[in-house]
Symmetry: D4
């Protein structure tokens, strides 16, 4: 509530136009429902312009169903659920209508939103093994109404595969670079485009990769400008942010 809005409200109270009780509600109305184990943010769409998302890992199936139903009941048409195992998805799918993608381990409860044609997000991966993370990003971006082009297996050890797609990259408003191992894709892409690059390190690799640490550090140290980084394997975060930028 901005200072101006608050001032107006107080003046309305002083003028007798608004009852103190109602003003109290307006100032302190809880923008969430309290389920005990979760405080569900039912007005996040209003406040932040995008519906609440359920991070499935570490929640029981019953908790996921309850939160989903609460959100659908509060008026959300569709709810995104990330990090949902196939088993959990089967169980949740019995309680609410559910689309589930087993590669990305991502579900949409309720209606699947329509995609928009505004702008263009390119999602590139270093290798085939990075695809699950890339799909989490792609499906998230599509959930929020963005157009996505997938450009998979263009790692820097065969840089001609990437250079062959510079025209495609040039059309993007945002690029998501998903790579494990040495994570160099973000830097090379960052040098080829003039739009924001969101780098997603993946845990693909072994040994001195240390579960994605190698790619993470490489991306944080990128010598290309315009690159920022999200958590290891955080396809959702990249897809969400890319959509936010794409719509600006």
């Amino acid at each position: 509530m901005t200072k101006e809005a608050l001032k107006e409200l107080l003046e309305a109270v002083a003028a007798g136009e608004t009852a103190p009780e109602d003003a109290l509600e307006q100032i302190r109305l809880q923008p969430y429902r309290d389920l005990g184990f979760a405080k569900v943010d039912t007005q996040r769409g209003v406040r932040q312009g995008a519906a609440e998302v359920i991070y499935g890992a570490g929640k029981t199936v019953d908790q996921i169903i309850a939160i989903t139903q609460e959100l659908l009941a509060s008026g959300e048409k569709s709810v995104l659920i990330t990090r949902l195992s196939a088993d959990a998805a089967a169980a949740v799918g019995k309680a609410v209508p559910l689309f589930y993608d087993p590669t990305a381990k991502l579900a949409v409860a309720g209606e699947r939103p329509a995609q928009s044609d505004t702008g263009h997000i390119v999602i590139a991966t270093g290798g085939t093994s990075d695809i699950p993370v890339a799909e989490e990003a792609a499906l998230t971006a599509e959930f929020y109404g963005n157009r996505v082009t997938r450009l998979y297996d263009v790692g820097v050890a065969g840089v001609h595969r990437l250079l062959d797609n510079t025209a495609l990259l040039a059309e993007a408003r945002v690029v998501i670079a998903v790579a494990g191992m040495e994570g160099a894709l973000a830097s090379v892409v960052g040098g080829l485009v003039d739009c924001p690059v969101i780098a997603v390190p993946t845990s693909v690799g072994y040994g001195a990769n240390f579960e994605g640490l190698a790619a993470l550090l490489a991306m944080l140290n990128s010598c290309a400008s315009g690159v920022s980084v999200v958590n290891i394997d955080n396809g959702f975060g990249a897809g969400y942010l890319a959509g936010m930028i794409n719509k600006m």
Copy 2:
């Protein structure tokens, strides 16, 4: 060079409109000047929409002067130099016209570009000690023509200082959250706004801060959506990326 441009060029050669030698030049023209110790990218403005930047750390004063002069000679009106010590700035300033900010350790050679009024970047810091990094971001964004508002010392241990400025934050097209210690500022800001948040961990702190590692990990693990992270103390990177997004 896009596929279409290449096709046109080849047709011009076939038609005798362009000599093979000229086509060769056009295809392979080096978009940089080779100084031996550096390959200066004199056409980056054309390719990526923003002029080349000189990262001052680890370069000798002579190298910095030579690269700066090469860029100014190639038509750049102003050149940004980051991580420049006061001593080095004094020396460089004798060779080329130089604006220098000792807090941000950042210089502009040639003319200082005019700021634009398009959009709005808010730069918030957790504390007073984070200001040098924040100023590197602010001056970088201003160099590229963005309007910047500084909101310093609004760390989460006194969260009312931040909440008191939600109206300001709501107007931003991009927010840069600069914080050391526990780096929580990025998460709290990320939950308050619906625009991209660029998180900059700083090396401010001691002990288990491990030179900024604590803030870096915290920011990468932010539970708020729309947050991405750049390297520790990388004010330049945040300012550059924020400007890129602000102008979309």
Copy 3:
């Protein structure tokens, strides 16, 4: 044994009021029973004001039963057992009367102690996935006779959920802040209250969370005063310490 007590005892020996053998026993009486694999502290209640606790992880079911029976036989009315798997609890429950909470993986052998109304401990979590650790803390504090209020899923990315409960926080004599991911909850809570805050980092998260390291470092670097930290996922330690402070 204090210097004064020792002096009195020696004078009693000199006066013939106490036999040397009895004095020997008083000075050296072993305050534990030796089971070979464990030295059970049967007089800890006398010495430290709180009964012995069994850390279940890494002990066999037979060892847990033997220690529990030894403690109950020595006069303890109830024994707390932490980190007990559901399978082990089922086995132990056949040998001794047992209350078991599967979320917290915590058991009470013998009678469940009554709660007191003295003071008030608030236990807050960043998210739903942190609840198992929070319940370990809550049940531990309740075992030692403290009143506990649970305030779950109030993470800083939706800071209004926390601010909406400042009145509740203001009543607390101690707050336990349980959070994974970026662990920022402790700092924000620490800035809102004027009582001790015990921060419990959890291993909830993934990637650069590194099994709770991110939250641990963040909490150790909290810019709020009055915050101290226990081990990752150490709900018991937080609950025990909170009870100790609450009763002061």
Copy 4:
């Protein structure tokens, strides 16, 4: 501002007893002064029961003087400044009346507060080299009106030195255990007392100590109950928290 207080205020506005402008001020009155580079919390004493503290590291002398003067001007009788170098202290001392302790690198601007006799904090160190951190804790606790007893150089490699002081430890309401190297002091103390132990790892040591990491990890893994940990070398944090608990 609690819900009840807000309700009363709104009713006063409705009743015409309070003007909307005044209510606005009361709701939104900034509890800090904005110096640009710092937002000084001039009402923290009211809100959190203890005056604002200035963390000296990373601030310029001019900034420290300005913040100190602002706090003194707003009614604080004394201001604590930590991590202040001897050189900076000399400069600050020219602008405001200043007590400075070179061992603890801690200063008090304005009047030094009187100590209280309520309760008792014991501060123990493993060795002589840990004394600077211990003194930061001791002087902080004394600043907030607590009685402190120093018990220095009682490390566990000569455990009789500690056991010889069990009577002293038994009288404490809080113990601060300050130790570098292997940090075992906290565990041994924790097993001897029935009051809260605040463990402060120090960076004293070399090699595999890794600047205090060894002691930090040891203290976090303490097998004694009732122990919590603050950041490496964070004497201030321990002293502040100990005072908070001592006064309960």
Copy 5:
């Protein structure tokens, strides 16, 4: 395409000998087949002198079969597949002719290439447990036509076993030193031979070995000259590089 080749092509276009469309193809001909989830490099043999290799980990069986068939169809006589589980090998073996080594978890699809007698690679291991990694290196080197001698279990704690084989080592053109635990084998071998030594740290060990980190750091710090290091457990990388050097 070298500058000279490009110039000739352009002159041919100017002379009408080559159609612009054909030149376009020659310049931009994609040296890979795009399967969507993978961009298969069908001309790597031409470009880099060695056929494409499939890294099996993280790919589905269907993906591995499709890439293998694409490579065989494009003219490769044999395809190397590394990190292939026994189960996956059984499934792939139904689709294409396959040789599989369960110790090295390495397969060859199509014909097994003949070995050459040129030069000589010695592969030494510190212990018996390092053999799986050593065999990955050995079979890779043999796949590319090199002669390999295995020298297993010659760790430095019984240095006579190694010294007894100095004559064998002296004949090698390249030595691969495979060792876990303290990884000292590389340094001792490096001091005995005058040819390149490729060090392969393995994850064999426990505790402070940290999954191969101890051996990796030791090998990177080798005081012997002529030693370089590949990733932990990267037998393939060592075998490939050794073959490359052996054939020079």
Copy 6:
């Protein structure tokens, strides 16, 4: 072979007393049997005064049986096998006579050696969960003919349990201190005795224990003199070294 021995041998060859072939054998006789996958040191007893040991982890059952049989055939009366799973022990036990201890996961093939009464090794643990590692140490020391006293569950959080056994500790020629969590046992023991203390960190603990790293670092930083450290969970190494010192 010492310089003197070699000189004598050469003089015998010059004098015709020893044939060159025999001298060659004496100089180069392989003190091991080569099984291909292992080079079994059949004369280690002669060279180092203690029979060869088989580290079971990472070896196949067939390899363990073959090495054991080779050693028994070469004249060893008993062979120690460490880190042997219960399943592997069952399989090996069918091929050679075998004593197996499931707690220590340690086996003796052939005859179990008699214990000696010379000297005395005390093995202390911090807790019950450290017993498996302690038993590996105890059984190893006993295998090599040493007298061992077990002193389990004497962690520093109840330091009276340890102090109650100072007489026992005073009789030891070597003490092995086995502890996880904060690993403080080694320092306290080191301050109580005047004999060597071998510290064995264990992986017992959780969270910031990082699989034994906390205890390892604490023990390396022990402020007590006379303490040295072996690898995490390395009961064998401690038992072997303790026996070596005990017999001096």
Copy 7:
């Protein structure tokens, strides 16, 4: 004080042979002098068989002088001071008679003790740069009356230098292996001798040596039996322990 001694004392009190006050003194006599900043252990020679040592780092010159004088006054003939800078040594030398070795940064106050001829300690280093740490070990061992042979610069990259000295190594009762970089010396030595090997990692090296971490981890993972490890650069600890073992 053992149980038996205590019993006898109490019986003497009961018999009137010892006054309670005297018994009190005997039981509780502080075996240290309290200087406030240090509790000096003046009877450690009695209790542990070796005089107190002063760790110079982190102590002021005044503190070192006071502790040294206290020890000399209490009857010690000589006092060892480690980690003493040349400047501090000059200052201390004005207050007490002092021998100082600038390479080892080690001093002896009072008389230098005579060396013994009992047994034999060999101290080997990997390189010339490890000598300062080795000298700290050597001078410490000599201070406690041991015979020491120095064997410097015998690193494993030229293993013949070490093998050439096997006769010398065979005579040792203890070997101290001092090495930085990859720390392999300990393993090779461990395989050549049948006496305890104390490994001292040094911080000699650069890059992935990480201040001695590489050597430390290598030594902890040594595949040779009979090797234990002290802290990085801890020459004193190794020399002290070696002397303790040598005299058994």
Copy 8:
């Protein structure tokens, strides 16, 4: 000495052709001079085909001079000294004829060897700041008689600078890729050439670069085949190994 050589020697002794004393010398002749603080390898040229090198860091000027003079006296025409500070070089240069390169901090004592034209080593750097490490590699390779081409400042963020030099890279027999920050250069180069690539991570960068760790991990995880890695900033190691391979 090979088995065959030894057999021949022994037969010569038996035949009276060689005296036992001479044989002794031949077998055991110490291939080094013992200076006490160093064992100088005066025959390494014979044994390993390349003269001894002096690693200057951590040695005193006197030690460096003594070793250099010993090597020159033993017949070496030139001696390479690495990691030599400018001050030390000035001092050494007074004792022996010395060429010194201040950028690489590398010196040649005695004559500078002539370069060869055999083969070709290309040394590429990511940036200007990596040049000191690259020059250490270049001058080392030239010292051992190799032809070197420098290709500086071709980092992947401007990949056209590298692609523009593919012809040059194609001519190389070995490529050394020197890069800090994200270290991606090695991977991109590795994908362009069919010769061995030696990757040298540098400590150029800041923040999450962690003194070269980011580049090191990236290079170890390179998805390109034919890449191996040396220690951070180890220009010498790369230059030495490259020369070894170039001459094969």
